[in-house]
């Protein structure tokens, strides 16, 4: 049971991370900055709860807000580059964040314990859950409050005009701006929302793990964020969930294969991208399911 609860909690972080990449990908931007936002969320929320004595809820929210703030700040220079150049620029951001935390030494003494980011040794003692005697079930529940809230918010956004605007920007920037869409506003808003959600994910992760280190927040994490959204599909908010399930089943489910796993892992991703080039849950699938659910209707997107 503990194992499954723990797995469900991990799924929560991954889904949030995938959703943070999803909203940015809707506008046609591929960003590797999500790992940087995740790290910022993890360190600030960790510091808030374990060093400054904040209650857990505001601490997690602070992690999200800091992620969102940096998303906003990264959003502006990111407007000037696209495609591979954006990938490189956002990777640079993630690396800068990592290097800052590699060198940041800010610890306090609580009783006989030293708490806080201790440069290369990482940030120990984010023990709010354990000091307050939370069970695994409580941790899962708390994590999933945020996951469900973000899922609901994104689902509503997808059905609103805002969602259609983000997708229009992702489809064709020139056409979007020529029909009155402010590209700056759309892309920066998406990056800010993505930063906020990644920050939340990092904040929740830090409290689950109790120990975080900059090594965890590198290019691999950023790549997974994109992979969850792209393999899962960007047709609906369910896409990143499908992506997380796909990867998690591969990573954990194929463990018995030993070293062969990595080989099969690659093969399966290539096969997947060939079978469903726009992800598992793409726009076409969403349309088909929607028309099945409401025969003769089809105002699903009109908000009517």
């Amino acid at each position: 049971m503990e194992f499954y609860l723990s797995l469900l909690t991990l799924f929560g972080f991954r889904i949030l991370l995938g959703l943070s990449a999803y909203v940015v990908i809707l506008t046609g931007q591929i960003s590797l900055a999500q790992a940087g936002f995740y790290a910022l969320g993890a360190y600030t929320a960790g510091a808030a709860s374990s060093m400054w004595g904040w209650p857990i809820f505001p601490a997690i929210l602070l992690g999200g807000l800091v992620g969102g703030l940096f998303g906003f700040l990264v959003g502006f220079p990111a407007l000037r580059v696209r495609g591979l150049f954006l990938v490189i620029a956002t990777l640079a951001f993630t690396e800068i964040v990592r290097m800052v935390f590699l060198n940041l030494k800010y610890t306090i003494q609580i009783g006989d314990r030293t708490i806080g980011p201790a440069a290369a040794e990482g940030f120990r003692g984010i023990t709010y859950y354990f000091q307050n005697g939370w069970s695994s079930l409580q941790i899962v529940g708390f994590t999933w409050i945020f996951v469900l809230a973000v899922l609901l918010a994104f689902w509503l956004m997808d059905r609103s005009r805002a969602g259609a605007v983000l997708r229009a920007v992702g489809e064709d920037e020139l056409a979007a701006s020529s029909v009155g869409i402010n590209l700056t506003a759309a892309k920066v808003a998406a990056m800010t929302a993505g930063g906020f959600v990644a920050g939340l994910a990092g904040a929740l992760y830090a409290h689950y793990a109790t120990y975080v280190s900059q090594e965890d927040f590198g290019v691999l994490l950023a790549t997974f964020a994109i992979a969850y959204a792209l393999i899962g599909g960007t047709g609906s908010v369910l896409g990143p969930i499908a992506g997380v399930l796909f990867f998690s089943l591969l990573i954990d489910g194929l463990r018995f294969l030993g070293d062969w796993r990595n080989l099969l892992f690659g093969v399966l991703i290539v096969a997947m991208m060939n079978l469903r080039p726009h992800g598992i849950i793409d726009v076409g699938l969403v349309r088909r399911v929607a028309s099945l659910l409401r025969p003769g209707g089809g105002r699903a997107y009109a908000g009517d």
């Binding site: 005009r161 805002a162 997708r167 020139l174 020529s178 009155g180 726009v283």
Partner: protein
Amino acid sequence: MLAIEGLSKHFGGVQAVHQLDLQVRQNEILGLIGPNGSGKSTIVNLVTGVFPPTEGRVRLRDRDITGWQPHRVLAAGMGRTFQSIRIFGGLTVWQNLWVAQKAKSWLAVDRASMKKIEATLEFCRLRDKKDELARNLAFGEQRRLELARVLAAEPDLLLLDEPAAGMNAAEIEDLRDRILALKQRGKTVVLIEHHMELVMGIAERVAVLNFGVKIAEGPPAAVQDDERVREAYLGHRRGQA
């Protein structure tokens, strides 16, 4: 309505548009013609802010909109369509209009703006396609969607960049009716076209471009007889110029 003053655009050493002066009057249909590469589409891109001009001013009504970004130009009342179809393929027909719609309702749709979208779809005969993904439409329908989408933004002045490209005779007839209907509704239309019959049939004035320079302007009949226009289209006679 629209005043283009001394507009030039140089791409490196190439003068795509050179010292162009052009006035568009309220509620007229102005034809803008010229051979391939004469700078017609560049003008559309310059006045709608896709890229800034090297020199010159663009005034819309009394506002200097030179160098404004496209979304601000549209908000000021000037919209455009694209020569190559640039609809949002992954969005439904309805959504294509929704994102362009002037009344920006972010969350839900209010009845009034919904009615407007329905009316625009009706006008472009796309009503029964409204829930289809735009990329699944036939070519002619995609062309109509391109027009419907910009109409949803309710601009007063429309720049139609080769709307008849790739259309058959019946579709062109249909397009002609629609442009005339737009004029009746008080819109001003600049029609950038290759299709002479269409332009000469409905434009009240025609401006002719060649190598980025305006070589003639006037009523269709006068422009058709202009020696320089014939040269531009048919080439120089041996020994001349």
